[in-house]
């Protein structure tokens, strides 16, 4: 187990990157604390897998350094880093039995057979495959193959870190839940540093202590699920996390008031003069539909999702979403939307600004 430090790290797949756009991973400094569980969240193509492959040594970064417990491993091959990684698509060795598949990483490191057998049995139990250990891996379902891949990742106890690259994409939803719970338990029991790449926010928020949100090759926010929800540092985080995502409205900030289309909104903090493209962001959970207070809206559609209602409305040409409690009656005279001042964030050029 180790603390992983990224220094000035950046990567481009092109031989001579010219501009920022050429970088798949833009400059990044970050410490992954020893024994913490991280989720790396972002849409497809944002650089998540690139970052993971750099940490595991499958890729050498164009610039910067990677340190494991202070020791430079930037150019060290994967084998020396002692890392386990599980990939999106199942990788099994077809001609071996399930048992031999699970034993493979241990045997390659020359562990004695008694220890190998013990570990394989433990892992097989964890992934629920103890009854098919002697079967060939060929012809198993994608589910079962991915469970073997996960098992191979977890079979070594002494790894510096466990990396997961969207490992549950091919697994059916029920099993997904179970495996995620087991991964979490594994983390609690052994305290490995874990990095879990996903584009599924539920997966990220339930798995990790800390979620790292990436957007366009950049880490835009690192925080607990609560921080990501309450104070998204970047408009992308607001939009990507939450269902539906945060509402954004163009605004002019004047002290502790925001001038938005349709009226003004009170803020709990005052702001100095701001430059750039100014927006306010407020989550649908913190908007209330009302008869007499707030901004004028036109309701377009109401979606009842069971535990609450999602109201799709129009505010002077801007689409906004409102979440109303399941038992609230929506009447035609509710034509105003009130924002909760305590939960409004202000953004300049997509980045959150703090008030005074």
């Amino acid at each position: 187990m180790a603390k992983i430090t990224l220094e000035n790290l950046a990567h481009s797949y092109l031989p001579n990157p010219q501009s920022q756009d050429d970088y798949a991973l833009k400059q990044l400094d970050h410490d992954w604390d020893d024994g913490a569980a991280y989720a790396l969240l972002g849409s497809s193509g944002c650089g998540k897998s690139t970052l993971l492959n750099i940490i595991s040594g499958l890729l050498v970064p164009s610039q910067g350094r990677i340190l494991f417990d202070g020791q430079d491993v930037t150019r060290a091959p994967t084998a020396e880093r002692n890392i386990a990684q599980v990939f999106q698509f199942p990788v099994v060795y077809d001609t071996m039995t399930v048992h031999d598949n699970l034993a493979f990483p241990l045997r390659n490191r020359g562990r004695d057979e008694a220890y190998v057998a013990e570990r394989v049995n433990e892992i097989a139990q964890m992934i629920g495959m103890e009854h098919m250990l002697s079967r060939k891996a060929r012809g198993l379902t994608a589910d079962a193959k991915q469970k073997i891949s996960l098992g191979r990742g977890m079979v070594r106890k002494d790894v510096n870190a466990l990396l997961f690259d969207e490992p549950l994409t091919v697994i059916d939803p029920h099993m997904k839940w179970e495996l995620r719970t087991q991964l979490k338990k594994l983390h609690q029991d052994f305290g490995h540093t874990m990095i879990y790449v996903t584009h599924d926010q539920t997966e990220a928020l339930t798995f990790a202590d800390k979620v790292v949100v990436m957007y366009d090759g950049r880490v835009v926010q690192i925080g607990t699920p609560e921080e990501l929800f309450e104070r998204p540092e970047h408009t992308f985080v607001g939009y990507f996390i939450g269902s539906p995502g945060m509402n954004l409205l163009p605004a002019k900030i004047d002290g502790n008031q925001a001038l938005v289309p349709g009226g003004t909104v009170a803020l709990t903090q005052g702001y100095g003069p701001l430059a750039g493209n100014i927006q306010i962001g407020v989550r649908p959970e913190y908007i209330r539909l009302s008869r007499d207070e707030g901004l004028p809206v036109t309701i377009r559609r109401i979606e009842d999702v069971g535990r609450h209602k999602i109201i799709r409305a129009d505010l002077m040409g801007h689409e906004i979403n409102i979440i109303a409690p399941e038992d609230q009656q929506i009447t035609p005279d509710m034509t105003r939307a009130a924002f909760d001042p305590a939960h409004i964030n202000v953004y300049a050029d997509d980045w959150r600004v703090t008030g005074r």
Binding site: L58, T78, A79, F87, T95, P105, N108, G139
Partner: protein, 288 residues
Amino acid sequence: MDKTVNNKAWFLVLPVLVLVAFSAVIPLMTVVNYSVQDTFGNNVFFWAGLEWFKDLLSSDRMWNALGRQLAFSTIIIAIEIPLGIFVALHMPKRGFWASVVLVLMSLPLLIPWNVVGTIWQIFGRVDIGLLGYVLDAIGIDYNYTQNTFHAWATVIVMDVWHWTSLVALLAYAGLQSIPDAYYQAAKIDQASRWKVFRYIELPKMAGVLMIAILLRFMDSFMIYTEPFVVTGGGPGNATTFLSIDLVKMALGQFDLGPAAAFSLMYFLVILLISWVFYTIMTNLDKRG
């Protein structure tokens, strides 16, 4: 379920039936006909029954040719398959050089067989051929027209030169179909180069390698043109393979009866071995 009866369908397949009849069925039946008769010319035939088959099965001539043929096929498969895999493993995976290598590799396959034979026949000559001359110059008394071993070596090297590309290209196609994740996972699992080959590359290539072996077997079992051009079956009968012997018997000596019996048995051997290959291959597919 009621079947629709429509006899016009027969009419539509008739052209194919006629074609197949003239190109395969009638010639084959003519051979069967020859194989049970004897003739002394003038199209006069006498019934001979199974006599030719009995004669051939007890003659050394056919057994020797069959032995040489099996030895030849075994040797070239034993060389070309491992060598083809080795070459494929070292071919560039992508980029400009991958295309260049692919084109270079296909060149030998595009040369007509008799030209391949002529190239090697001249190449190996001691007086004007580069290979023969060089071997002679470094003190090896190389002469494929008189020395049995030299004749065999020349014919085998020629076949390896001609056909290893095919095995390499097939193996290369098999290798290209392996997703990168397999190699990455192997690195994470700290698998040695040998284990990557044994547990990832070889199993993924198994299918195409079976096809390569089948193709190389059938082709080499029927080989005629190239050794005929180079050695003419000699020295003596040293490189007289089945097809060369058959042509000698049928067109050289004009022994139509024995030659027909010979070619039928030849056909049955190829059929049998191909059936064995086919069975193994379909079993492989079922497991996969």
